[in-house]
Amino acid sequence: MPADRVPVKPSGWSRRSLLTGAVAGAGATGIGAVSAAVVGGQAPWSAAARDETRPGQRVEPFHGARQAGVATLPQAFCAFVALDLDAAATHESMRRLLRVLTDDASALTQGQAPVNDQEPWLAENPSRLTVTVGFGPRAVSLVDRSRAPGWLRPLPAFGVDRLQDAWNQGDLLLQLCCDDRLTMAHAQRVLLKDVRSFASVRWVQDGFRNTVGATPDGQSMRNLFGQVDGTSNPYPGEEDHEQVVYGRDGFTPWIENGTSLVLRRIHMNLDTWDEADTPAREDAVGRRLTDGAPLTGQKEHDEPDLDAKGPLGFPVISSYSHVRRSRSPNPDEKIFRRVYNYDLAVQDASGRSGSGDVSGGVSATGLIFASYQADPLKQFVPIQKRLDELDMLNTWTVPIGSAVFAIPPGCESGGFIGDVLFT
């Protein structure tokens, strides 16, 4: 394919993220070294300093007004972990839980082992690890019922949904994203050990994208349908990102610097997708498979021309296409998506999965559709309603899980995630 298939994000999303990322601290350098009194700050001669460009040593900031993991350039891997709080959970136990999670997340994301980490060496390559905490209805209720946003409840039912309770909701969400799978597995284990006396794991959704360096910088991800995924997205740095994600001009965020996460697990039937040839696939979406360009354009980020007609007078971008149906004349109806693929191991996989099936065939594949917006009811739901009514992609996709979380603001050093709700 021609070189111009590699679009550059208009926002420079990735570039900025990488350049501002600091380098992991001295966590990796102290082994067998000297006493606490001697090892003070970050030694300039440390291995970390020499390895500045090593992907494993890249870090994303933890502290700040907003939590990391939303505007962060998507890491290669992401685990969404929903927790069910114990029946005995209280306001005070929530405070203790959030303190512990914050302490360990703030250490792990900076490449440093928590005080009670029994495998501290696994924390030495943070690989841009981020940990993002989200509140389900019960968590907000326990922390501060008066602050519970009206939209923090299950989405309205959609006709295309075939939701499985095993993938629905949860009281608390931990979103771990990382460029290294081993580092992430360790971080997940550490945090779940922390959680154990407060909650149980409801579900874990493991997602992946291309690994670091596999694709040109700035290229949109492809999903397992082979489509360029997420072209139309208000990227950080772009004009509407702030409004879409954190509210402004008409959207009131549930709390300043807070946002929401709608997490939809969408099964993709690759077996029936296989039956569709390229023209049918491109017609269903309204974009070219080769580069994600709209059928009316030349490059991925060209604006689709919904009025363009073909030689026979039919719209070039068809009336049922995903591109047309997901666009709204209402500028408020925008979301910020940060999606991951999933591809589960299937035992005794064989045969083909039929139309509408969410199991069978040789793979269990889909998309973890993570959508961030100030107000799910005003932003996400109208889009999904339109897609529910008509979207040719529904032929091959089935939502099988749905959850909504309120993402609290970040915290400063010395605080903890959600602390502003405890005052």
Binding site: S93, R95, Q112
Partner: protein, 263 residues
Amino acid sequence: MNLDNNTTTTSTAGRRAGATPPLAHRAFAAVAALGIGLATLTGCSASGGGAESSPSASQSASDAPLTLDNGWAKAADSGTTAAFGTLTNTSDKDVTVTGASADGTAGSVQLHETVTDSTSGSTTMRQKDGGFTIPAGKSTALEPGGNHIMLMDLTCSLKAGADLTLQLHSDAGTKTVTVPVRDYSGAKEEYTPGEDASGSSNSHEAMDMSSASPEASAGSSEYAEHSGHEHSSGGSTEGSGSSHAGMDMSSPSSSALPECHAG
């Protein structure tokens, strides 16, 4: 035997020291030691919200020239537990930590060491004769499998995410420190009063590291090879014993003791 442990703890101290910057805000901030009676276990905040800033906010006139960095204590609903961290002597004279207390939290507190019996190979925790002497400007690591501060006869349930305030008594005065409480599956200690499993000359109460005494002898050789690693006896370690840090996922308030609080 002690040399092995000391070697281990020294290297770990170095690693943990490297982890200091982001943790410093909630590591063992010093609190004025106004008197033994004031040592209490605090909840996350004495000031109602800024959980982690309160300990450092109350930092004041220092007495004993000691710091405890990256400190923490193991959560426990009752019985015994332990506290750890990197203990540093910031003065230019040797300091000996002779004891500790945690009034309002533990009936008694002792300084413990872990020793391996030269004949049986079994590892035992016992009170450290003469306390911990820290040379001028040096540090010593208190950690699971090594030296530690042992809390006995808990009078309240020490929950993960709370804070524990300890007073460290030394020949250079007393230092009050506050450490976060964390769940931890290791650092198992069975309190067996009047029994000195190590057979050493020391007559203090011994802490058998194994969670079940039959395993103590069966697994003794493993202990010898893995001193410093508390899970070396094999088999499942999670959830056994009475520790809160085990698999008790659903009943955080099931203990008979009230939750440790500072109000």
